[in-house]
């Protein structure tokens, strides 16, 4: 069971956390929503929940709840640039299908 982050993603998260001035890490998660059934969650973490799991990747803490982990196991979080746009991308091996925009997916 693991979640990882690319060097680029870790660098960007580290920088964002410093600029924000607080937060202990990055929360990954899924929730039921969107056109293909599920949507990713990507949030700053200020407090841990009791059943949270914490992974560390390139010095950044990745926080995830056990339910979400089932859908995200093996995921690598990447940070990429597409033209002028830049942002995070989930490379999730569990995904069977995703909507055109990729904001929501299906396992």
């Amino acid at each position: 069971m693991s979640i990882t982050m690319t060097e680029a993603a870790a660098k960007h998260v580290g920088k964002a956390l410093t600029q924000r001035g607080k937060g202990i890490g990055l929360r990954l998660g899924v929730r039921t929503a969107g056109c293909s059934g599920m949507a990713y969650k990507l949030e700053y973490v200020d407090e841990l929940n009791p059943d949270d799991l914490v992974f560390e990747s390139s010095g950044v803490k990745i926080v995830i709840d056990p339910k979400s982990l089932a859908y995200l196991d093996g995921t690598e979080l990447d940070f990429t640039r597409e033209g002028l746009n830049e942002g995070f991308k989930f490379n999730n091996p569990n995904v069977k299908d995703e909507c055109g925009c990729g904001e929501s997916f299906h396992v």
Binding site: V13, A16, Q19, R20, L26, R27, R31, A33, G34, C35, A39, Y40, K41, L42, E43, Y44, V45, D46, E47, T80, E82, G83, L84, N85, E86, G87, F88, K89, F90, E98, C99, C101, G102, E103, S104
Partner: protein
């Protein structure tokens, strides 16, 4: 696949529901666009990684338009079709523009706003600004890959309504939805998060390329109020370059005078040296001139300080004056925000720090701080609020709102530039004895006479109990909500009867009209004041005549014939004086009539007191006493 951004805890947006809003710093020299992504404000760069868009627009022969660096390159080559510093023309009339002869542009005197003649026809400053905004909007759309719900655009704190309206129109023309116009110093304060800090007074020191602005802000309950602004429209970072350039000429002792190209080159080297000195103790200045002469000098910190000392102290003069205007002392200023590239100069940092006796805030990029603040505000207004963050309401009403009082005069209830939302109430009274209805005429504008202002709505308050003129208390409440929607309520205080109307104040007012109205108010200020004084005296005279007449009807028996004749002739005299429109004559006639009636009034008062003492009518005594404190009167409705 879409790229995701990090959200605040518990605030992940649903798919396809991210609401992007942008902040735009539409500057005189350079413009920027920024947005909040992953909870942090970023300025958006172009493909070459440049954040700034020079605020320059070039109209090409083939009908296309160049904006930014591409346009800037041609400024010397094609000056008539390359518009720079258009911000200085926004919302201005032809005659408002100082030093027109120094501008390389062909200015045209168009009613409403000065315009520029280019090879693509006459362009208004609104159209030119829209070109710049369009480029910023395109960049934002390419960066965010999503629709943009709206933009917050910054304007200088001293911008008047015509200039603000022109900015809004430019945005609309560029296809942007303006969420709000924000004062530049306020945006800078927001970027530093001062809106979340304790209430207090802040100074924003903004030294740009060619202008210097100082603003004093007060933060109360999350709203920034601009207490005072000042500055120097012809002082900026470029002046420091020129000082170094002069020093170079002085030191190099050139054999032949520098050519135009030499000057441009040396100014560039001067600028580089200035920037180098922000982080190094000394800067080399080397250049090979057209004549083949070599300039090779080293400028150290102490020399730079010496040659630019007068410039630094020149900025502190307006700072002192502005503080004085705001009625504040240095010790009352809680924080100082630095804006503009030139504030990177350590000498300025030090001088400002010494003046305010505290370290200025300077950890954000001073070129970007205004755009960043605008982006943060835009993000809030788009509804992307982290839990616990509050709204900021910073919009102001562009023109005063008021109502018509006797004599066709305007009584302003909400003055222009009041922050929204706002509610103000004022008491008015009846003009005639037994008046039971009142016409409330709501008007907008800065002028003193109703005829010169814009009529927004009329409504009637009926069911006022019959009373002596001036005895009724009608409370009129003006309320403008956050979207600029005005509602007016009038209620009579003793019976509680009420009437109500809703209006949209800016509806149907074109920019030309707003510009015209504001201009007229300034042009006619003195005439208006005189007309108002005259009208007020006429109203006073009519009121006195009405009062005396009704007293004569009621208490004729208290006078002998001679006294009666005297008062009657006094009324006629006042009537004539009132018609003549001579205020002095009117005042004299009023004083005379007043004197003639003195005994009569005394007798009436005694009679009233006697009646009161015998328990007959205490109200009439009260009414008489109340009349001593007269609110403005509103005429009867027909």
């Amino acid at each position: 696949m879409a790229l995701l951004q990090i959200a605040e805890p518990g605030a992940s947006p649903l798919p396809h529901q991210t609401r992007h809003a942008i902040g735009i710093d539409l500057g005189t020299t350079n413009s920027l666009v920024a947005s909040v992504r992953s909870g942090i404000a970023h300025v958006m760069n172009d493909v070459e990684g440049r954040a700034l868009v020079p605020s320059v627009v070039r109209y090409m022969e083939d009908g296309s338009v160049l904006v930014g660096y591409d346009a800037l390159k041609a400024i010397a080559k094609d000056p008539k079709n390359t518009v720079a510093s258009v911000k200085r023309l926004m919302g201005r009339g032809y005659s408002d523009i100082e030093h027109r002869e120094n501008l390389p542009l062909d200015l045209v005197d168009v009613p409403g706003m000065v315009s520029v003649k280019t090879r693509q026809g006459v362009k208004t400053p609104v159209e030119v600004s829209a070109e710049i905004l369009r480029v910023l909007n395109d960049r934002a759309q390419q960066t965010l890959k999503q629709d943009i719900v709206g933009a917050v655009i910054t304007v200088p704190a001293y911008f008047d309504d015509a200039q603000r309206q022109a900015t809004k129109d430019a945005a609309r023309l560029a296809g942007l939805n303006v969420l709000r116009l924000l004062n530049e110093p306020t945006a800078a304060a927001v970027a530093y998060g001062l809106d979340n800090s304790a209430e207090g007074v802040y100074a924003v020191y903004d030294l740009g390329g060619g202008t210097f602005d100082i603003s004093i802000l007060r933060l109360t309950r999350g709203v920034f109020e601009v207490l005072a602004t000042g500055g120097d429209s012809a002082l900026g970072g470029d002046d420091f370059d020129r000082r170094i350039y002069c020093w170079v000429l002085d030191q190099a002792k050139l054999k032949s005078p520098p050519t135009v190209e030499d000057t441009a080159l040396l100014l560039l080297r001067a600028r580089e040296a200035k920037e180098y000195l922000s982080t190094h103790p000394e800067a080399p200045i080397t250049a090979r001139l057209a004549s083949g002469e070599i300039v090779d000098l080293t400028l150290d910190m102490a020399t730079f300080a010496e040659i630019s000392q007068t410039l630094v102290s020149k900025t502190l003069q307006p700072v002192k004056k502005t503080l004085r205007d705001a009625g504040l002392r240095v010790a009352e200023v809680q924080g100082v925000v630095m804006v503009g590239g030139a504030t990177r100069i350590p000498l300025i940092q030090r001088a400002v720090g010494e003046f305010f006796k505290q370290e200025p805030l300077n950890n954000l990029d001073p070129d970007k701080v205004v755009a960043l603040g605008a982006a943060i505000q835009a993000n809030l207004l788009a509804g992307n609020r982290a839990p616990g963050e509050d709204w900021l309401l910073l919009d102001v009403i562009p023109l005063s709102l008021g109502l018509e009082t006797m004599g066709g005069l305007v009584e302003k209830v909400i003055p222009r530039n009041s922050t929204l939302p706002v509610a103000r109430a004022q008491e008015f009274t009846t003009y005639r004895d037994g008046q039971t209805a009142m016409m409330i005429h709501v008007v907008q504008g800065e002028r003193e006479l109703v005829d010169d202002c814009r009529s927004l709505a009329r409504f009637e308050l009926r069911g006022i109990p019959p009373m002596v003129a001036g005895a009724a208390r009608i409370r009129v409440t003006f309320q403008v909500d956050a979207d600029g929607l005005l509602s007016v309520t009038a209620s009579e205080q003793t019976t509680g009867v009420e009437a109500h109307v809703e209006v949209k104040p800016s509806y149907g007012l074109s920019d030309d009209q707003i510009t015209g109205m504001l201009k007229a108010s300034v042009d006619n200020a003195r005439d208006d004041a005189q007309t108002r004084a005259l009208k007020e005296t006429q109203v006073d005279a009519q009121r006195l005549i009405e009062a005396v007449r009704s007293a004569l009807v009621e208490d004729r028996h208290l006078l002998n014939d001679a006294e009666y004749q005297l008062i009657e002739s006094g009324i006629v005299k006042l009537q004539t004086a009132s018609l003549s429109g001579n205020r002095r004559q009117m005042t004299i006639a009023m004083d005379d009539l007043d004197a003639d009636c003195k005994d009569f009034a005394g007798r009436r008062m005694n009679q009233a007191v006697n009646r009161a003492l015998s328990g007959k009518s205490i109200e009439s005594v009260e009414a008489t006493i109340e009349q001593l404190h007269q609110p403005k009167m509103v005429k009867e409705s027909k």
